[in-house]
Amino acid sequence: MIEQPIIVPGVGTVEVDIICLNRVKNHAILWECKAGRTLGEKQAHVYSAIKAEDVQRTGNVTFPRPDTATIDVVYCCLSEHAKRISESFQRLALAPPVISFGSKAELFSGQIRAVDVQKRFMAGIDLPSLEDVPRFLLANTQTPKVDLARLLFPTLVSLLRKQVAKVSVRLVLEETFNDWSCMGTDLRRYLSDRFKDLILDLCKNELQEYASIVKASHSPSELFIEFSGGILGSDASSRTRAFQKFEKLAYGFIERIEKDKPYEPAKEAQSMWLPGFEPPFS
């Protein structure tokens, strides 16, 4: 489960970055991934108070044997920040396990209840360089709109090519995010809301000739995109030209969202290429 909020009654709420459940061991690990070196004090106290019962009640996790379920909360951070984060916990009189990520992923401080996991991280697990880590998780609740625009437009082109006549926003999300079904409800809602905004914007502007919005009769908040038929042309060369035009529209849309500017029909992207990628002599 990715980005799943958990409520601890009387203490507060945290949004757990990743929840891993080992069904055989009836044990879950809640991962908090820190990009920087500072701790949220309140967040740390909520994490320290979480029990397996809270994970079940508000984290949408079903343990095979609820009464005996156990959990670990593990912090992970970049190796250069591990010392500072660990010291911050000491000041709060807390001692959750901290995994540091450098050339290896290794346990920096604290103890993990799951013995086999503890042993693996004590020994250290070799990691590739950060830039060689595959991109599995594309978005979180802080992902800016422009990055989502960059993900959305190609999915619409894919659906156009498949000659899909009508598609729900939900399907667009599933086609874009391979991890959609693993996402927590808050993240899904965040992405769903942003995608709806972007799709409405696109259908009014860049894609007005090619797609329109239809509201579901049974649920007006549910949106469908209806693609115009036959827009790709009947022969291969006109289809290629149509797709090349979509590339241009995509860059224009992304640029507009990034700069938060209104659509200007006459002003498409200056160039369909990023600086440095322009075809020579264009």
């Binding site: 459940l21 079903t62 991109r135 993900l151 190609p154 090519r161 291969a236 289809r239 797709f243 990628f277």
Partner: protein, 371 residues
């Protein structure tokens, strides 16, 4: 007609055809070699075709092109025709169809090309160079063709190639001396040996049966000889090897959720093409990669994320599959979605071998399973 009758008709044809495949364009129906194609098929929405549903996919595709489809006594075998061209479609495997034709190659391929071009859920097979060579080695090698052209994926005005030793290499060698010649080529220009054709023969000493085959880079087999059984054995081998490759790619690299009970796991890892030498012109390559044009036919939005490093949010324009790539001058990482098609990867690999370096191979991760 049933399969036995089909075999008799094809064998009769095999015995009467001219074995000089290179001059096939001159022959009318009945004189050119038997051609057998592998077509990879999906349902209209890109999903797998259910068992028994391939015929409706064939009827729909044929209908758009005014092809006449006739059922036979075998529910997986269809006679398809238009004008002078005639085909036998064998959809026993609903995803990998086998198509035989005795018609003139130009007329037949014009029809098949249009059928595939206009139906994004159909595609040819794209056997990588080493797979073609492996198939060739199952018989007696009798020739090869190499078609390597580095200029295809670089700007047309590029003039540096005048100084390159192997920028464009096109060789066709028929005869048993080809292997000697090939060994020499492997020594001094291994990176350009993108086979566009391999020729080989098989014999069956007890029955006196023999077959001469040419396999090309779109999975087409041309055949002459006297034994349809030997031909069908070769077709079966090619199909098996190619299908195994495609399924291995999909099993290991489709990034998809696995849901068991309440547990959800993300399975699959991206696959990687390692470039044996850094790309000569990285920017030009990226530009061509998403140019929407043949041969790659990929659409994409490029984001520069570092020096000589880009992320591409892409679409395969043939099948409509959503893809993403990380590209550097040294490798290309490809992320396939849950329903993406392994054939897309094979087509990309085939074209990178023909236009960048013939020794590029796929690094396929081991399949994962949920413990």
């Amino acid at each position: 007609m049933d399969r036995k009758e089909l075999a008799l008709r094809l064998e009769e044809h095999l015995r009467n055809v001219n074995v000089y495949f290179d001059r096939e364009h001159e022959y009318s129906k009945g004189r050119g070699p038997l051609k057998t194609y592998i077509i990879e098929a999906h349902a209209h929405n890109g999903d797998s075709i259910r068992s028994g549903a391939a015929s409706s996919v064939l009827f729909d595709a044929a209908d758009k092109h005014k092809l006449h489809v006739q059922e036979t006594k075998d529910k997986n075998l269809f006679e398809v025709s238009r004008g002078e061209a005639g085909f036998f479609f064998d959809v026993l495997d609903p995803r990998f169809w086998i198509v035989h034709t005795m018609s003139n190659i130009d007329i037949a391929e014009e029809i098949l090309n249009t059928l595939i071009e206009d139906n994004p859920h159909l595609d040819y097979a794209w056997p990588p160079s080493e797979l073609m060579r492996d198939i060739q080695k199952t018989g007696r090698p009798r020739g090869f063709a190499v078609d390597f052209d580095e200029t295809v994926l670089l700007p047309q005005h590029e003039d540096r190639f005048e100084d390159e030793p192997n920028a464009i290499v096109k060789i066709r060698h028929g005869g048993t001396g080809a292997e000697t010649w090939l060994r020499r080529l492997e020594e001094f220009a291994p990176s350009v040996l993108a086979f566009s054709m391999v020729k080989f023969s098989r014999e069956e000493k007890i029955t006196g049966g023999y077959i001469i085959q040419e396999l090309n880079d779109k999975g087409r087999l041309k055949a002459a000889g006297n034994s349809i059984n030997l031909h069908l054995q070769v077709v079966s081998t090619v199909l098996h090897e190619y299908k195994s490759l495609i399924l291995a790619i999909e099993e290991s690299t489709r990034v998809r959720p696995s849901i068991e009970g309440n547990g959800k796991t993300l399975l699959g890892e991206p696959l990687v093409f390692d470039f044996p030498q850094p790309l000569r012109d990285f920017n030009a390559f990226v530009r061509e990669l998403v140019s929407c044009r043949e041969p790659l036919k990929l659409w994409g939005v490029v984001e520069e994320v570092g020096t000589k490093r880009v992320h591409v949010e892409g679409v395969d324009l043939h099948t409509g599959s959503r893809l993403r790539f990380d590209v550097t001058p040294n490798f290309m990482r490809i992320y396939l979605g849950p329903r993406a098609c392994g054939n897309t990867v094979a087509r990309l690999l085939r074209n990178l071998q023909a236009h960048i370096n013939s020794t590029i191979q796929i690094r396929i991760p081991e399949p994962e399973s949920v413990e």
